[in-house]
Amino acid sequence: MEPNYPLHLPDFYIGDPAPAYRDLRRNSPVHWTDANGGFWGITRYEDVKFIGSRPHLFSSAKGVLMPDGKPKPAEPRPMLITTDPPRHNALRKLISKGFTPRHINAMEPDVREIVRGVLDSAKAGVELEYAEGIVAKVPVRIIADLLGAPAEDWEQFRAWSDASVGSADPGITLTSQEAFGALTTYFRRLIELREQRRANDLISILMDAEVDGESLSHDELMSFLHLLLVAGNETTRNLIALGTIALINHPEQLRMLVEDPSLIPSAVEEMLRYVSPVTHMTRWATEDVELRGRTIRKGQAVVLLYGAANRDEDVFGDTAEQFDITRRPNPHLAFGTGEHACMGLSLARLEARVFFEELLARFDRVELTGEVLRMRSTMVPGVRTMHVRLGANEKAAVR
């Protein structure tokens, strides 16, 4: 019998989707779901890679979120993430030059200072809220700083960013449209300031950028800014928060990491694989395509389930379902694949590495003291709040 899982609901991703993913990889790797107008769920590593690297057959132009059953605007805003080649490549290079390994490595001292500032507020031995109160502050400050937003606006930024992606979460009072509007107004003000005087920030770079001899349109500029803020914020927060939970659930791995911090980069890769903070991206077939005996019809949505691909036994072997911070090689697809692969991956890696270096130098024990509240989202079902108690790392303190 065809397996049946609610792939269209946030609760599926908030729970433990691993058993369902295993079943789907084995028994229905190209899996049809009727809900929300219907879509295909792709769970095998090889297939996710195949589809992600064929933008002519599988377009991003109709949006990358899985179908939610709501009518789509006739003409969606132009966004990098929903642009197909050849224009995609030209647009992307404008921003990616700010995200190359060299540029990102140069940011390490800033990132470390921001992380230290945030961790200074964390005390050992008392219960504290970790996701919202500590982790979330790091990526939002870094990305807002990168965009050129002044420090006093950073917290407001985070509220808008949360609301504009987590609209299914009843804990957020602002609707995603309201948050989107507030951000747009704010960005317009930043642009006006930069029109008078350019600064050394991403907004200024984008305002001077040209594609085929033409500047970006106002809409393009706006959507770049929205994309960067949202993409740089939730995702890293969830990687760090869910990665911390993985360490809490695997105390022997946490111990190993505390004793040998040189394992942190490889632990971050394993967190990316094991957690897969972004559950999926969607593509749309531009013609009929046969895949594993199923026919994907022109116009149908194809949902690439990265978390499922990242536990594919064919690639990660017998230990695919285990959390192993020493795993190597670790060719996970947590950043996606193909020309839309995450542009901020070097920054995400840097933030996570520095965060865990600083965290574990101060605290060598982390325990959960209450329930973990998740975001009700199908795409980035991260941690809303989690209460923990941290234990001081006595050895490091005398260092």
Binding site: G52, S53, P86, N89, R92, K93, L94, S96, K97, F99, T100, P101, R102, P329, P331, F335, G336, T337, G338, E339, A341, M343, L345, S346
Partner: protein, 63 residues
């Protein structure tokens, strides 16, 4: 082994540079520069990892 770059596919993200910095560098215009036409002595592992790790599949090795 020769390193072949498909410039039309490259998005300048620089994963190759992070894996094999002696061979790949993304310049200030966001263009990838391949610093060695042939895989340098002793660098085959890291260059292979960079080629396989390219999300845009813009790199390949030819005999």
């Amino acid at each position: 082994m020769r390193i072949v770059l498909d410039r039309a596919k490259c998005t300048g993200i620089g994963i190759c540079e992070s894996l094999a910095p002696t061979v790949f560098e993304v310049d200030d215009r966001g263009e990838l520069v391949v610093l060695a036409a042939e895989v340098p002595e002793g660098a085959l592992d890291e260059v292979t990892e960079a080629v396989e790790g390219c999300p845009a599949m813009a790199l390949r090795l030819e005999p």
